[in-house]
């Protein structure tokens, strides 16, 4: 990737990196920077002092010591730089969280060399630093940042840096990965699920079927209530199946924006969020009606995350 002179010496590139990127990012020599640390400069001053003493006293061993330490410092530049060079950064998953929790971004660091890369620091803009050793191979690490508000939150800019081995120089590479974390609204305190004509369509139990009178079996899905599991089949070694009841299709629960008049937007979203969670817990089929979006009734984890996502992104430009 040849760079123009202007690009090569651009301060923004130096400080911020090339901007959000997707996919694996290789830290090649164009994007690993290195400068002396404060301690490195201090050692420079100490070495100058010893050199002056050596010149003045014409002391051969003091000369030798200065030259040895100067050589050591210069060699350490290469080692520090090489410690970071060639690292591959991969984007990982970032599971959704509820507002007020911590967004956890998983980042893969792939060390393709045969040596451990020691003391690698991941530094977030707020200054939090995670230091780890990277043996050869791929390592997943998690960067956390608080997610106070619902919506999509980005990891933002961070740095990979290392001062190893001597701490006299610091090599770093600014990075911005195109990773976002979906933050659901924080659920309101538990409230009963809505009922009645606003909440349900159709009437349950008309055919008078009991819990044992299921009409069909379908493979068990995460999120199905354990009460629905057809345990007899499990006992016969036929796997987990959930019972489906005749009335279920008709028992549709609508969680609607309009059910919560007079509340501010965020509170409404919080209540809807709580309802989605409870309906899902109860294994009910439910739909969600928001001013700009209607999600038809359904159940299971896919439905849950679809609804929560709609709540999280409410009011945001798609």
């Amino acid at each position: 990737m040849p760079l123009t002179m202007h690009q090569r010496f651009s301060l923004a590139r130096f400080l911020r990196g090339p901007g959000p990127e997707t996919g694996p990012v290789l830290l090649d020599r164009h994007r690993v920077y290195i400068l002396p640390t404060r301690q490195g400069l201090l050692l420079g001053a100490v070495l100058i002092a010893i050199l002056l003493g050596a010149i003045n006293y014409d002391n051969a061993l003091a000369f030798a010591l200065v030259f040895l330490l100067a050589g050591l410092s210069v060699v350490s530049i290469l080692h520090t730089w090489h410690n970071l060079l060639g690292l591959r950064v991969e984007t990982g998953r970032c599971p959704e969280v509820f507002a007020g929790g911590e967004a956890r971004f998983t980042i893969g660091l792939r060390n393709e060399t045969r040596q451990t890369r020691p003391a690698m620091a991941l530094i977030l803009p707020d200054g939090t630093e995670t230091v780890l050793d990277l043996p050869p191979g791929l390592h997943w690490t998690t960067l956390s940042r608080s997610a106070p508000r619902r919506g999509r939150t980005a990891l933002g800019r961070f740095q990979l840096a290392t001062r190893f081995p001597l701490g006299l120089f610091r090599a770093w590479s600014p990075l911005e990965l195109a990773m976002g974390c979906l933050v659901y609204p924080a659920p309101a305190p538990p409230t009963p699920l809505p009922s009645g004509r606003f909440g349900t369509i159709g009437s349950g139990g008309a055919q008078g079927l009991g819990h044992d009178d299921f009409t069909a079996l379908r493979p068990y899905q995460t999120g199905d209530s354990l009460r629905q599991v057809y345990w007899k089949a499990v006992a016969r070694g036929q796997g987990m199946h959930s019972k489906q009841f005749a009335g279920e299709a008709a028992q549709e629960l609508w969680l609607a924006w309009d059910l919560l008049p007079g509340l501010p937007t965020e509170d409404r979203l919080a209540h809807l969020c709580r309802w989605v969670l409870e309906a899902d817990e109860a294994g009910l089929a439910y739909g969600l009606r928001l001013p700009e979006r209607i999600i038809p009734p359904g159940s299971g984890p896919a439905q849950r995350s679809q609804c929560l996502e709609a709540l999280a992104l409410h009011g945001e430009q798609p």
Partner: protein, 657 residues
């Protein structure tokens, strides 16, 4: 606080190691104070003691400064400075809080090593030890900068530190050789008082040379061009003593007589002997040249009595290229010189004078022979512990005790000569030397210190007479004196040594040769040596700019090699995986199944398996292993050999069955 227990233990250990050489030189109470501070710090790290309170810092610091003042009466100068630095380092260790503090302490540790170099002139052993402490400090610095809890074994830090230092070593070597050295100091340098305590004095009284006889310290080393002259000619001339009060002998001062500052001259009777002499640091101004000196090195004066005196004393090891005439004739005696070489104190040593007057009718050469016969035939003994002599020292020695060391014999002989009217003087210096057969040079030790006499004879001029050498070996009193006596007596050298003695001697000579090389090429590498070396290498032709350019080029080359090594050893571990996969693809291409550039390994495997169902199982196996290694979490150690074996076994037949 730094979360770095292993780092801090490294810091403490390496610092103790680096503090040992200076601390062992300092007064004991001072050493005890520093060790107490170090102990306190280890209790903090190992036993979890709290850090000392802030209000304790001032008293502790004042106590340290007080200890330095008590010992040295000053805070400045190399010795006091080193003491101050040591105690400050221990105190800083007590208030260690952050990584920044810890790194500062490592830097000060390195500085302390430089301080030791400035204060003492280290032997190879101390130099090696200090290099080891530099290694430990470097390992500590690495451990400090590795703040991860699952730290590696201590060997890891030591190995890495050693690697870094080894890579820095060529840079050090080139800079050491080529960095332009300045001829003079930048500011005033106090004379180093720790060098050259023992050595030849500028006067002699009975016992003054015997004092040196025990010292195995090296006075100087000599490398001859060609054969080493016989031991009977190896007289290294030092102070020449003219005036006496009957007990003590003194040299002439420059102001004593106008004759003395005239340039000396002599007529050579044989070939010139050329040699290089490396003088150890001493406190006097003599250059102990082989008799008689034929050249005068720069910065020296040759006095009328053939002493080589340095104009401005340099307290450092110095190397000289010299020449000598071992056979010579000196010009006629001046009036002044004759008067000085005949004077004796009035009324002292009457019995010696009476004896000498009996001989005065003889010819001068006969007088010399008569005096030597006296020492040879009468019961005179050679001993390092002669009885103490009173005010009539020569009389007591010649007639009563008859026991003495070389200074007794030389003084008594000159006294007798002067009493008999033969001009004579005492010469002190060194005699003989130990031949190092491994590196073919001569080691002259303080124990080779000697005194002999010179008499003036009309035909030959000044002639050397060594009265001690006429004593028969049977009249050496103590066994311990035998060896010294033997070395003055060339015929008795190297006789009847056991195998063990021979090998121990070989070891000793090997060590001395090493020490000599260290002195010459490491400690003694100054601007003169540098010019000599660079001239010989032909580098000076391009001026100092050329030298600096070579220095930078060699340093850059070293760095290039280090970088290359880093890049090669850090080569991607996926490389063998890629190579194996490429080989598998080539094998498939041979049967007409080429992988399209955009095709992923899984897609290619599907297509290949469809085209050649007979190979499907093998293709699936290889692709799975490859994908696992390249993109998944597959363990390199165990999976890579499996992939290699599978690719090797994979021999697709051209035609499908």
């Amino acid at each position: 606080m730094i979360p770095l227990r292993p780092g801090r233990l490294w810091l403490l250990g390496s610092l103790t190691a680096v503090l040992l050489p200076p601390l062992l030189r300092l007064p004991p109470w001072f050493t005890a104070y520093c060790f107490a501070l170090l102990g306190w710090r280890s209790a903090i790290d190992l036993r979890g003691w709290p850090l000392p309170r802030r209000r304790l810092h001032l008293p502790l610091t004042l106590a340290g400064i007080g200890a330095v003042l008590l010992g040295y009466r000053t805070l400045f100068g190399p010795d006091a400075g080193l003491a101050l630095l040591s105690v400050m380092l221990c105190l800083k260790l007590l208030e260690l809080r952050s990584l920044r503090d810890a790194m500062l302490i490592i830097f000060l540790g390195w500085f302390l090593v430089a301080g030791v170099f400035l204060v003492v002139e280290p032997s190879i052993l101390l130099g090696g030890y200090l290099l080891l402490t530099v290694l430990l400090l470097t390992a500590a610095l690495i451990a400090l900068n590795h703040p991860v809890t699952q730290t590696g074994p201590p060997r890891f830090y030591l190995q890495l530190a050693a690697t870094l230092l080894l890579q820095a070593l060529p840079i050090m070597f080139f800079l050491f050789l080529l960095f332009p050295r300045l001829p003079g100091p930048l500011w005033h340098v106090p004379q180093n008082p720790n060098l050259g305590r023992t050595g030849m004095a500028d006067h002699m009284s009975p016992g003054s040379i015997a004092r040196l006889a025990d010292s195995e310290e090296v006075a100087f080393r000599v490398q001859f061009e060609g054969k080493i002259p016989p031991a009977s000619q190896l007289y290294w001339r030092g102070p020449v003593l003219w005036t006496t009060d009957g007990h003590r002998w003194d040299r002439l001062r420059g102001a004593a007589t106008p004759w003395f500052s005239q340039p000396a001259s002599h007529e050579a009777l044989g070939q010139e002997v050329r040699y290089a002499l490396t003088l150890e640091p001493n406190s006097e101004r003599w250059l102990f040249a082989l008799e008689l000196p034929a050249t005068v090195p720069h910065g020296f004066d040759l006095t009328a009595d053939f002493q080589l005196l340095q104009r401005r004393k340099l307290n450092a090891r110095q190397r000289f290229e010299l020449a000598a005439h071992t056979r010579y004739r000196t010009p006629p005696l001046s009036e002044e010189e004759r008067r000085l070489s005949l004077q004796l104190p009035e009324g002292r040593n009457p019995r010696s004078h009476a004896l000498a007057r009996q001989w005065s009718t003889l010819a001068p050469a006969q007088i010399v022979q008569t005096a030597l016969a006296l020492f040879r035939e009468q019961p005179y003994w050679y001993t390092r512990q002669p009885p103490l002599l009173g005010s009539e020292a020569m009389d007591e020695f010649l007639f009563d005790s008859r026991r003495g060391f070389c200074e007794h014999y030389a003084a008594a002989f000159v006294t007798l000569m002067r009493g008999a009217g033969v001009p004579a003087r005492v010469v002190t210096g060194y005699q003989g030397g130990e031949h190092n057969p491994l590196a073919d040079y001569l080691i002259v030790r303080q124990s080779h210190a000697h005194a002999w006499a010179e008499v003036w004879l009309a035909q030959e001029g000044w002639q050397r007479v060594d009265p001690t050498a006429v004593l028969p070996p049977t009249r050496v009193e103590a066994e311990s004196d035998q060896q010294r006596f033997r070395s003055t007596n060339p015929l008795l050298l190297d006789r009847g040594q056991s195998w063990l003695t021979r090998n121990l001697a070989r070891l000793r000579y090997g060590w001395d040769a090493l020490d000599n090389g260290w002195n010459l090429w490491v400690l003694g590498y100054n601007n003169l040596r540098q010019e000599e070396l660079l001239g010989r290498l032909g580098l000076l032709r391009f001026g100092w700019q050329g030298v600096v350019a070579v220095m930078l080029a060699t340093t850059a080359t070293t760095l290039g090699v280090v970088l290359l090594r880093l890049l090669l050893q850090g080569r991607s571990q996926s490389e063998p995986v890629l190579r194996l996969y490429a080989r598998y693809c080539r094998k498939l291409a041979r049967i007409g199944l080429s992988r399209a550039p955009h095709e992923g390994p899984a897609a290619f495997a599907r297509r290949a398996a469809q085209a050649r169902p007979d190979l499907a199982l093998k293709i699936a196996e290889i692709s799975e292993l490859y994908i696992g290694l390249r993109y998944g979490h597959a363990d390199n150690e165990s999976t890579l050999p499996r992939l290699r074996a599978a690719v090797q076994r994979f021999q697709p037949p051209t035609n499908a069955r």
